[in-house]
Amino acid sequence: MEEGKESSGSNWEPKLITFLCNWCSYAGADLAGVSRIQYPANTRTIRVPCSGRVNILYILRALQHGVDGVLVSGCHPGDCHYLSGNFSARRKFAVLSRLLEYVGVEKGRVQFSWVSAAEAGRFAEVITEVTEDVKKLGPAKRLVKNSD
């Protein structure tokens, strides 16, 4: 993370963490890869069994450790491999995203999406959009540990 912080000038590139569910979004990312669809290389993927598996502490910890943006992506509602994991996740994220914005973490720093295993193009679009959003916000400063 240190290198990214140092080059926060004009060449600064954001670092994103994406939590992708194994059954839909991760497969979507995989399809984007084998289909050779281009998307920004700013993201680091963490595969999780289900979007419902994403403890909100994962998101907070990522921000603390200095990532510039977090994206959580799962199956479309109704398509969850575990039937209702993403529905439960949606309620948690609804509360969290409002709370984060309220305490002053910029809107767009933490984002959520649904991407299915067939939506390779959609996956590339989402990553591009999130990367652009975070670029506009600039390097993360809030909630980051050991920053002023």
């Binding site: 909100i56 502490l57 907070l60 910890r61 603390q64 509602p77 109704g78 209702s84 529905f87 439960s88 949606r90 309620r91 948690k92 994220f93 609804a94 509360v95 969290l96 995203s97 409002r98 709370l99 984060l100 914005e101 309220y102 305490v103 002053g104 973490v105 910029e106 809107k107 984002q111 959520f112 999406s113 649904w114 991407v115 959609r122 989402v126 959009e129 999130v130 809030r142 909630l143 980051v144 540990k145 050991n146 920053s147």
Partner: protein, 317 residues
Amino acid sequence: MEQLSKEIKEKVRKLFEEEKVDLVIGYEKGTLPFRSTPCFVKNAEDAEKLVWNSCCENNLAAYIPGMKGKIGIIAKGCDSRSLVGHIKEKQIERENLIIIGVPCHGMLDRKSVDKIIAGREITDIEEKPDGIVFKGENFEETVTKNELLPDNCISCSHRNPVLYDILIGENVEENKDTDEFGKIKEYEAKTSDERWDYFSQQIGKCIRCYACRNACPLCYCKECCVDSSQPQWFGKSIALSDAQVFHIMRAFHVAGRCVDCGACVRACPMEIDLRFLNKKVEKDVRELFNFEAGINLDEPPPLSVFRPDDPDGFIKG
């Protein structure tokens, strides 16, 4: 107040005589003039110790998780809502609980009292219809009760117990014209930078004593995620970032459960504005899922269920 105390004593004595309870949790006179402390009554004679006054601030529901046997408990409006939460979350069976409900006019806020008394020593306190009389050496001061109420009592909309087996006294009139989220709306109208500054300034005071968590009737996990060392979820320092993440997490964990009893605010030695977070989450849960905590035994906790048409405006695409 005297009348209510008497009634409580009688009812509790009767419960023991009829062998309906093994233990009653109530309040007794504290060692300081305007403090009542929690009291555990185990037999009919000890019921004599019980009191009721405007200093019975503690939320006794905090003692319920892990209790065995038949428990009697004195409950104000907010306490009874916490008990509804405990029953729903299977911390106690409804039939093992005898709730002695007491309608509440609000409890005195120690910090407001301290400000008015300004270091003088109080030796006695008396509750009169026109206010609270503080007596000490060479002074006697009457203060209207409204000046001494904490924020959560001022905006309280459930002064009467929502669930009880025995009711002491008569129901009081509920606050109808309070805007309990007024302050939150003010904060929401500010800019992101202003909110961040306020959040940082408040949490910057935190010494990580966890008094807020320990006092909270809802924080009953055997192991709290903040104490866990493997994995270590939270840095143990008082670095601003660590404290902020702790407080975000604490507010999130009481989402759809917090009844605004004020236990955390009273416990905080640094006077952090914890309602800044708690009330916001309460407001969001009300708006998003149309849920108010601690009212209905049949409604499941909002974050443990879902609806296919839940709000999803924040999700891309």
